[in-house]
Subunit: 344 residues, 2 copies
DNA sequence: AAAATAAATGTAATCGATTGCCATGCGTGT
DNA sequence: ACACGCATGGCAATCGATTACATTTATTTT
């Protein structure tokens, strides 16, 4: 009754075969004969053996782990995506290391650490704002592990990317408001430089011009996806000489902050202004008023991102390159109480 | 220009010393002479060497990683705690593996996997509802890695635990309502069997009896910490023949769902009923009405939990046992709009 | 100045699994 | 009968670091 874990040696002894045979029986069952396979399996059972991943990784030069770079774990939007990645990854036998790029030095340094220590077989990046030199293939004079972007992305990296149709989603939002008779539609932006900010802004502008609606520059307010940004946007909206009758906010959190702050000033949604958010976070369905928004299947995108990464890893093992394709998941309009027809 | 990573051999060659010396220079700088230390550091610099964690872990039988068991990554309450753990852990050179026990088999099996593969040096458990046999020290005939509970816990495991003062928090909540003149105060429970549920219920009951306030059993409604549970509780509250004038909900999410559903039926908070939540999640400050609640310093508890775990790990290395002490972090009452004095 | 002690460094075994190469034995075709 | 091919399984090198032990060198003690 040794306190240590049984090793492959113990199994070999119990099965009366060599360690090589045990290893093969476990990794390539068809490489050994029916009878030895049975013997080995019995021995494994009997000893309670389970492979030491560290040793395997050292030998195989893989890790069975992937790293996910998240801009901010605390953000419920991402946590749902993480759950999707987790679930797909653990089914495929991978563990998931989560790396919060909000931590000061974490993002860049840890990424390099991970890559260099071969601590991860692949990388899913949810943060499009990382310094681009990290993605240049020659960056450290060595290969980057298979990498895919999810949700956010960077142009011109040639990396595969799984994302929502942000432009399409924004157009749905604006289209909905326009269909309700709104003509003066404002927009609150995400953080500057963010690809989602740009895609949603582009969708907004396109939809407006498609309908021949004028956009006034003072209707486009700055933001950064936080509740507080929504609050600030509300104050600026209140100060506008001519207020838009409807607002499309680049995400739900800002929409909540926006509505909350307006309420404090006696301005009611949707009575005085219609509001559309983006993301369909949990609380959207229960906010007061409930929030009209653009839903993105977040768990799904996590699953899809891992699937793509897994394919990349396997392709690379086979020596085949893989083209960096873009996979666009559709967004969906969810109509709730925060929007209503403009009465004239 | 080899594509492979430099190994300790390469450094040894460049510094003209043995690998043993390189290893020592890096792990115990004071064990080698000033001059060789310099030579080694230069060689490291020059070759771009960085230790291969897998090899180190195999040899040292440690991993430099800790596992955190979370009931549900998607829950913003936990994600904030995770951020605290992450930050403290990465400062101490540990990586954090997050394991979502919501995944069907993940919790138990993965835990065993991790432990058995020595994939983790320690364990932080945020989920008090795991099967208790996992904690029996003899469980698998082998030692459990250093483990601490955070937030949730299990009685009688003898494991250290870092948690909020839930009983005290609940008493604050009830005390606040009583101070506003409420005498009929109801409570919505968390999920059955959960330790937080019990602690908060106990605090509620204690506070009520301390003030000589009667508790009617129909005022205590079932719940499970979800938005929807709050909605259901609201429906049951509406159906009560004699409605309490104030409600203390076991968490903020349920409080939001509760308020939201009441609003839909024309019942307004705090006009018709005062509501107190628990947790002070982000949205609490911006819900309509803003939510009176009990704040728990969540990032802090993450940091404290890691600190405790780290101490356990180091104590064990030194061969010293460590007593499973309980660390209680204070909770704080945050008064906002969802409560107001009872007018009689 | 010799002996004893301490400090610095090297040699080689070790962690636990994987895998290239080789040996064995069996079946088959001629 | 003989050679050949194929399935099977063992031997031993290997992954890259750590560390017990041995050895050399420096320092202190007497």
């Amino acid at each position: 009754m040794t306190t240590a874990f049984p090793t492959i040696q113990d199994v070999a002894r119990a099965a009366q075969v060599s360690t090589a045979t045990v290893s093969r029986a476990l990794s390539f069952p068809e490489r050994v004969s029916e009878t030895t396979r049975m013997r080995v399996f019995d021995a494994v059972e009997q000893t309670g053996y389970s492979v030491n991943q560290t040793a395997r990784n050292l030998r195989r030069k893989t890790t069975g782990a992937i790293v996910v770079l998240v801009p901010n774990i605390g953000n419920p939007f991402f946590s749902r995506i993480l759950a999707g990645i987790e679930s797909a990854a653990s089914q495929a036998g991978y563990t998931v290391l989560i790396c919060d790029t909000l931590q000061p030095r974490a993002g860049e340094d840890m990424l390099l650490e991970y890559m260099r220590n071969n601590r991860a077989d692949g990388l899913i990046i949810l943060d499009g704002s990382l310094p681009s030199r990290l993605f240049e293939s020659g960056a450290q004079g060595r290969r980057r592990p298979p990498t895919v972007f999810a949700c956010e992305w960077r142009e011109a990296t040639g990396l595969p990317s799984v994302r929502f149709d942000n432009v399409g989603g924004a157009r749905l939002a604006v289209g909905h408001l326009a269909a309700l008779g709104h003509e003066q539609i404002g927009h609150v932006l995400g953080p500057p430089g963010n690809v989602l900010t740009e895609a949603r802004r582009a969708g907004y502008l396109t939809a407006m011009s498609e309908r021949g609606l004028a956009v006034r520059s003072e209707w486009i307010l700055n933001g950064d996806f936080s509740l507080d940004a929504g609050v600030l946007a509300a104050r600026r909206w209140l100060a506008l000489p001519a207020r838009p009758t409807a607002m499309f906010l680049a995400n739900d959190e800002m929409a909540c902050g926006f509505i909350s702050e307006l309420h404090r000033s006696g301005v009611e949604v949707p009575r005085d202004v219609s509001v559309v958010g983006f993301d369909d976070i949990d609380i959207a369905e229960r906010f007061i008023p409930t929030l009209t928004t653009i839903r993105q299947p977040r768990t799904e995108i996590g699953v899809a991102a891992f699937a793509e990464l897994h394919a990349c890893i396997q392709d690379r093992e086979k020596g085949m390159p893989r083209t960096g394709e873009v996979r666009l998941l559709p967004a969906e309009l969810i109509v709730r109480e925060s929007t209503k027809a403009l009465k004239r």
